[in-house]
């Protein structure tokens, strides 16, 4: 099997390499990929949409349909993950671990025992024993706000610098995942619950599709943001720029919520009690 695979993939690699001989060289400005559609984008995106970052302009305006369905794809991924993994039944006969916060003593309470859940002096810890990790927690407390501010900057400044909804959303989701890794899953879910995530997920997609439908309502094509000029009180070109920003915010929300949801479900195998 292994040797057969090696031979097979060597042959396939050679076939692909044979095809490469016909390809244009690296960095050829007149290659087929750069000579049909992309000159239009490069030359007209600023006058069409008032967005200097062509990638953002193409992503959210020229190829708006594509991006909308990409957003729906990741939304579907989150839903599939919930359907596959989420279990609402608490696990049978599992003990719980608690730590007395003043002394650091850990208690193991078997099923049926009295748990000090509402006591201020105890905190529940994961059943795989975790020590006090003061350095990690303090570092996270300091770093996470800056990560989140940077994520919002990446979303909001995607018109003028590399960035946009997908990238900013992933960074925002990563900050939540970092929090969940450094503290624990239960505390993260207390701050950003499952329902909230599902709501943000759906709201992001709704913002995107809703913008398109709003454009239709204003007697224009689906996702033709220039129809929003009356609402923003600007000229049609600037309205496209603002429309792109709204859409990017929707994408950012959806991506963030999907990343967090995937982490919640994968880290706890759908039980949402003890994470990594």
């Amino acid at each position: 099997m292994k040797r057969g695979g090696l031979v097979l993939f060597s042959i396939m690699g050679l076939l692909l390499a044979w095809g490469v001989l016909e390809f244009p060289g690296l960095g050829d400005p007149s290659s087929p990929a750069s000579s049909h559609l992309s000159p239009y984008y490069i030359q007209h995106s600023l006058t069409d949409t008032a967005v200097p970052n062509m990638v953002t302009a193409v992503l959210a305006d020229y190829r708006g349909y594509d991006t909308m369905f990409e957003t729906i794809v990741i939304f579907t991924a989150a839903i599939v993950c919930i359907f596959l993994l989420r279990t609402f039944k608490p696990p049978a006969s599992r003990y719980r671990m608690y730590r007395h916060m003043a002394t650091g003593i850990t208690l193991r309470i078997e099923k049926g025992g009295k748990t000090p859940d509402d006591s201020e002096h105890f905190e529940r810890i994961d059943s795989v024993w975790v020590p006090h990790d003061l350095v990690i927690r303090t570092t996270c407390r300091m770093v996470i706000p800056f990560i989140q501010v940077f994520a919002l900057y990446v979303i909001a400044h995607g018109h003028h610098s590399p960035g946009g909804g997908f990238q900013g959303g992933v960074i925002l989701g990563a900050s939540v995942v970092l929090f969940a890794v450094c503290f624990d899953l239960r505390r993260t879910i207390r701050y950003l619950g499952e329902k909230m995530c599902a709501l943000l997920c759906a709201l992001g997609v709704l913002i995107y599709a809703g913008t398109g439908i709003l454009c239709m309502g204003l007697q224009s094509n689906f996702l033709d943001y220039s129809a929003l000029a009356g609402l923003f009180g600007t000229d049609p070109v600037m309205a496209r720029s603002h429309g792109i920003l709204i859409v990017e915010i929707g994408v950012g929300m959806a991506v963030m919520a999907v990343m967090v949801m995937l982490y919640y479900n994968l880290a706890s195998a759908g039980r949402h009690d003890e994470g990594l």
């Binding site: 990638v55 992503l59 596959l84 991506v255």
Partner: protein, 136 residues
């Protein structure tokens, strides 16, 4: 000899993508462990991303963000003519931007499936799963 060398150096991005793609495909098909298959799938996707992004590259061109956009930054006024050769091709970047996020989403779903398989069969080795399936 020097022609072959020029071919190898001038198109090194394609050789890299072929190598990565074959590594990914090999892992996806030959490896026995489901997680290793997923890692192979990710390497495969990375190869395609590398391929697309390297197609968009142009020599002596900059990132696809228009430098002197005319307002705000003090340069003002002069709407210079934009030459397509000065900026790299934005289209592959757009396509790969969405492809990266979709690859993360598919990877998440694949991991969820792997977790379910492990819960059911207590293993992630393909031959052991097949053995359990025939036993049932």
């Amino acid at each position: 000899m020097s022609e072959t060398l020029a071919l190898i150096i001038g198109k090194y991005n394609y050789w890299l993508y072929i190598i990565l793609m074959m590594i990914g495909l090999y892992a996806m098909i030959v490896k026995n462990n489901l997680i290793k298959k997923l890692v192979g799938m990710n390497i495969f996707q990375t190869a395609i991303i590398l391929f697309y992004v390297s197609i968009g590259y142009k020599t002596h061109a900059t990132i696809p963000i228009i430098k002197d956009s005319g307002h705000g930054d003090g340069h003002g006024g002069g709407h210079a003519v934009i030459h397509a050769a000065d900026y790299i091709n934005p289209l592959p970047h757009v396509l790969m931007l969405t492809a990266i996020v979709v690859s993360v989403a598919t990877f998440g779903v694949a991991m969820a499936l792997a977790v379910r398989v492990y819960q059911r069969y207590q293993t992630l080795e393909e031959d052991e799963i097949r053995m359990r399936l025939t036993e049932e």
